[in-house]
Amino acid sequence: MTVTERSSPVRGLSRRDFLKYCSAIAAAIGAGPLGVGKVAEAIAQAVEKPIVVWSDFQECLGCTVALLQATAPTPAQLILQQISLAYSEAAMAPAGFDAEKSFDQAFQQGTYWVIEGSIPQKMPSSMYVGGKYAGDIVKEFYPKAKGVIAIGSCACFGNVQAREPNPTGAMGIRAWLRGPGGMPDAQVVNVARCPGHPDDLVATLVYILVNGKLPELDSQGRPVFLYGQTIHDTCERRAHFEAGEFVEQFGDAGSLNRWCLYKVGCKGPVTYAPCAINRWNGRTSWCIHSGPCTGCSEDNFWNKFSPLRSPVPNIPIPAIQGVSAETIGVGLAAVTAAGLVVHLVGQVATGRLFKGGPSSDEKGGEQR
């Protein structure tokens, strides 16, 4: 079936809605207006639906719950019609040995692998499934997967359980594979944030299907097409920042007017994520509507940005109120500046600041 026909190739979605969906995806993956057709063709012609295995390791299931909140496509459209979800401990009918059969069969048939949760390097006993250590599972099946996507900040970076002193030695999938896993060239797409956003996952999957390769990644392994802008630069409260209008304390008059949250700890200026673009819960809302950003898309954010209630230092505040930012939170200056440098290096590496191709380390790997 092609998109020139009158009907939609996706059951339950009208043709108009289908094309709207494709154009949103095309925009999300940076394919531009002309990319809509290409996206639509790729989806329509995927006669064999891509098989997806969703594994859970050291996690809270929040990424799975976030997936259930998706609206475009809905979870039912996604899981029943657009992909073949072979394995998800949260959703599948079988359990135990029978569930493991589904896991093995999916890898025999050829599958993409989405991983939620981190790997405990220091304390392997703290994450087992079916009698196997999570690290061993990742090591064994990484080479057999068509592509690996880490969903959410646990699988990307270790997240909350990697908070000092990181009792279990929690690490992201990519770091584990490249280090203890002994595969220094391992490629994993990091779909960050806490929880991981279902739209980012779908956009990444479609990107891979359309282009036949992994997307270009930044220094933290995140797709550049999704994680290129800061929260601050896309923020609906930005005008208040520029006007020097700040919430000084929760519940104050500025808070009622939804002024800028910088002074109560917002990490928006140093956080790269598309939250303002694709928002949450069917695009109903996003964090800044109700509170300061915690920087959850950034590697090591719990350690780097704590205490969360303290403002990010070294952000030049517009002169209107003449407040010196450095007086607000000096203690964080060094670590946060280091975080910025890392990101800038990433931008250099991926060719976003200077002309020239991405470095061999960070450019999108060919689909394996």
């Binding site: 098989i51 599948m92 279990t168 929760f250 819960n281 069917g282 509170g291």
Partner: protein, 527 residues
Amino acid sequence: MTKVVIDPITRIEGHLRITCEVQNGKVVDAWNTTTLFRGFEIFMEGIDPRDTWHYAQRICGVCPNPHALNSAIAAERAMGVGSVPDNARLTREMLQACQLGYDSILWFYILNAFDYVNVPDVLNAKTTDPQLMAIQDQVKAIATSGQVNLFSNHYWDHPGYKLPPEINLTLTAHYLQAIEAQAAANQAAAVLAGKFPMIMTMAAGGVVQLPNLSDVNYYLDRMGIVKEFTEQVMWPDLLAVAGAFPELGTFGQGVGNYLTWGLMDAKSQKPEDRVFPPGGIFNGQLSVKPVDPADARLYTHYSYYDDAMGQGKKPFDVGQKEIQFTQYPPIEGDALPSGKYDWTRAARYPDPTSGKDVPMEVGPLSEVLVAYVQKQPEVVKYVDEVLAALGTPGKPAPATVLLSNLGRVAARVIKARINMDHAAGWANDLLANIKAGDTECFTPPDVNRTGEGISGYDAPRGALSHYCRISGGKTTKYAAVPASNWNLAPRDDSGQRGPVEAALVGTPVVDPAKPLEILRTVHTFDP
């Protein structure tokens, strides 16, 4: 003797193994083994007390809101804030209403339904309804694709699947509607708190952001969808399933002790005034004793920690640091678990009569029983409705039938209905406050104080309590006792089984290779 091991137990939050010993078609002994450890109580030590709730809600991505709430309350009490502005209470309650609205639907359909609803069998249903036929087409496309999918490799031929094809088809349609209904509840949460899961508006001392009129209006609209689904779809489905599976009332009794810290705060913010009041029921005797989250006890003889870490200490005196992992019990062979076998600590509560620390079941059944015994009228109304449906005309079933798997299933839906009966009320009270000029939503806490705070407020799956001690602007001790420490407790130092283990004993297993009944019993706890 046959050993049955299920690992992973699917359709739950977390990572769980169940080992059962089966004799003559019945479970005679059982062990639950959590196979995940992250160490929250270790890394939460030393953080800013105003930040604890951000961490705590990551304990569970299915129920982050009650973790955030309990953590904020424990921390604000430690920082000298005894109660929060009424608008903060109402915003917090609205968020809990969203949580419970979504979570009840998630559990009943997405986590639980496949234990009773035979999905492949929908192809045998006769229907002329175009929507139902479209569902049949979808199931057929999946079943004939040759690709492995969510329904592959399951024992759909188990005799426990006995609903007629047409009912299986209807319930499958409701499963799909349920996905949309639960999402509506979380859209309501998102407009109040930025997103769900992982809300953004909580604060030790109240809430960050007073919802505006447009937010409240949107909340009311979304929760209207959830209320309609809960009343018109989930409630009749409960009565239908309960009627079709009467055997659910005959096993899964468990430990016979029931505990709740209560939930749904009244204006006084006192636990005893809650819609679901706190209380304990011991030895199946239908009288309610007062309980206090400060008095929870923890044991670790069978858990992967040093024995001396537990031994009945209270949460402030127990930690997670003295890890003593030995080995996971063997999956293969006949050997049964021995020695330490679980990451979960065993939570116990002192029986006021004997003084002995005993295992306590927590969850909707405990909350409903404690309220029912105290004749809470809203609870009595729905319990009586269920008992009438289970009995014969004019002769309702006895309330004792609820002390079973059936009671756990029914109580979850009863709790969901009472929640939806109150969901709009919180919002209307908030609007009335704002209309009267009250926009206060935050009391600044004193972060440099030395003090401690405790909060007990039940999550959807049951009793949850947080403990926070602070000094010099840092937490010096943090503890959480979630529902899993109660229900999924292993044996304690004196050998008493935990509630799930006890409920599994006596569960019939018609075919040890297809242990559907074990899944049913475990799932009734919403582990």
